[in-house]
């Protein structure tokens, strides 16, 4: 299963290689991810930057990715290699939720 996922991820990378996605930034400001919902192509590197005075985290609900505590101006990046919808939240302020939809 894991191997299949890796192959899938790899094929995703190859398929999108010709239209290599831009890096995208999500700002964390006033207890919100902005944009809250995002659609990107496979291979896109997404970086979350915390602009708030308090720490936040970025935690994918199925633990696909989890940042540590991001203090003010700290950032966390994840490169999406598999298509699908990834929902995440802040483990400090669980009312903060966001999602990234990854397309081929």
């Amino acid at each position: 299963m894991k191997k299949y996922a890796q192959m899938l991820a790899l094929s995703g990378v190859l398929a999108s290689a010709s239209t290599w996605a831009q890096d995208i930034q999500i700002d964390i400001k006033e207890f919100m991810y902005s944009p809250k919902e995002l659609t990107v192509a496979v291979g896109t590197k997404v970086t979350w930057v915390n602009d708030d005075q308090v720490p936040h985290t970025v935690a994918e609900v199925n633990k696909v990715f989890r940042s540590g505590a991001l203090d003010t101006n700290d950032s966390f990046s994840y490169t999406f290699l598999i298509p699908g919808t990834f929902e995440y939240f802040c483990i400090l302020h669980p009312q903060m939720i966001g999602s990234v939809r990854v397309t081929q």
Binding site: E30, F31, M32, D52, Q53, V54, P55, V61, G68, A69, D71, T72, E87, Y88, F89, I91, L92, H93, P94, Q95, I97
Partner: protein
């Protein structure tokens, strides 16, 4: 007298007693057994007799008191308070200056800001100056280490159950420290979890209903403001177990401001922080640190002194700011 965050016209010299304005203002807070009075910017609780008269004398006769401090956030250094260590020192000075040494001290969490070892070390060094034993529960800021709370539990979890919950007795009062800063789920309020609720039910089995109970936990046990996650989803299950007790006081932190509610025999109270203020529910786009003019910061920070009288009375809570 310096005034608190209230507007000057709301402040009445306490020697003049209760004005009609104060009574009207407090009527929303008055429950069966307690009356909250805003006086000089300081909310005070007075016991009520059956006819609704204020039993002010009982406060003075109290023979046991303890202090709650909360949300020290050691490691925070942003605009809202660049020096939370200094304001914690002021809070400790205030506790030391109390006319009578408190029997014990409760710290309702967010000891540190980022759960770093050096933050815990600094907090420990400074809190050592407190004149009585300190009992802790963790805040969510104390669970940010790589182990997700292991650093807190290694320091403060000795003799506790699960993720750090426990109970003890002092002066005939049953104290229960609950933990609601683990296992957060997206879009949901905090939780105590089934294991802790089962433990609570077992713990209360040996406690007579005439015993005063004090529950202390970080995030408010009742929902104060859902959009900001200021509440505990299964807190009502814990509260249901406490309804049969004659005197229950629930002390929380987390929201960095005083909010109180009385429901039957249960008094709910959240304490000020010693580090930085947060906005009143819904008054700002987000619950982040609230920056106030530097010369007013101490009006927004403070400690809570809780007095217990022997007998069937609610505990009296006196919140004081750091001015």
């Amino acid at each position: 007298m310096k005034t608190g965050p209230n507007t000057p016209e709301d402040v009445t010299d306490e020697r003049r007693g209760l004005s009609r304005r104060e009574l009207l203002k407090c009527s929303a807070w008055a429950g069966a057994g307690v009356l909250w009075v805003m006086s000089g910017g300081i909310p005070r609780a007075f016991a009520l007799d059956d006819a609704g008269a204020v039993l002010k004398g009982d406060l003075l006769a109290s023979d046991f008191h303890f202090v709650q401090i909360s949300d020290t956030h050691i490691g925070f250094n942003k605009e809202a308070n660049p020096e939370p260590l200094k304001t914690l020192q002021l809070a400790i000075d205030k506790v030391i200056a109390l006319p009578k040494k408190p029997s014990l001290i409760l710290h309702t969490g967010d000891i540190t800001h980022l759960s770093k070892a050096e933050e815990f070390d600094t907090a420990d060094q400074v809190l050592k100056r407190l004149p009585s034993t300190v009992h802790y529960v963790p805040g969510e800021h104390d669970t940010l280490d790589e182990g997700g709370g292991k650093a807190y539990l290694a320091r403060y979890g000795k003799g506790t159950k699960g993720n750090g919950w426990y109970s003890f007795d002092d002066h005939g009062v049953h104290f229960i420290g609950l933990v609601n800063v683990f296992d957060f789920q997206p879009g949901r309020e905090a939780t105590l979890g089934a294991d802790q609720l089962q433990w609570l039910a077992d713990d209360l089995r040996a406690v007579a209903t005439s015993t005063p109970v004090v529950v202390f936990t970080h995030i408010p046990l009742w929902t104060i403001y859902q959009p900001w996650g200021w509440g505990t989803e299964d807190g009502d299950q814990a509260i249901a177990m406490l309804r049969k007790y004659g005197s229950v006081t629930v002390l929380n932190g987390h929201i960095h401001q005083v909010i109180q509610k009385v429901e039957g025999n249960i008094t709910f109270h959240t304490a000020r922080s010693t580090s930085y203020p947060q906005p009143a529910p819904g008054t700002a786009p987000a619950p982040g640190p609230m920056t106030v003019p530097a010369d007013q910061l101490r009006n927004y920070l403070g400690i809570t002194d809780v007095k217990a009288t022997q007998g069937d009375h609610p505990l009296a809570l006196i919140n004081s700011t750091l001015i």
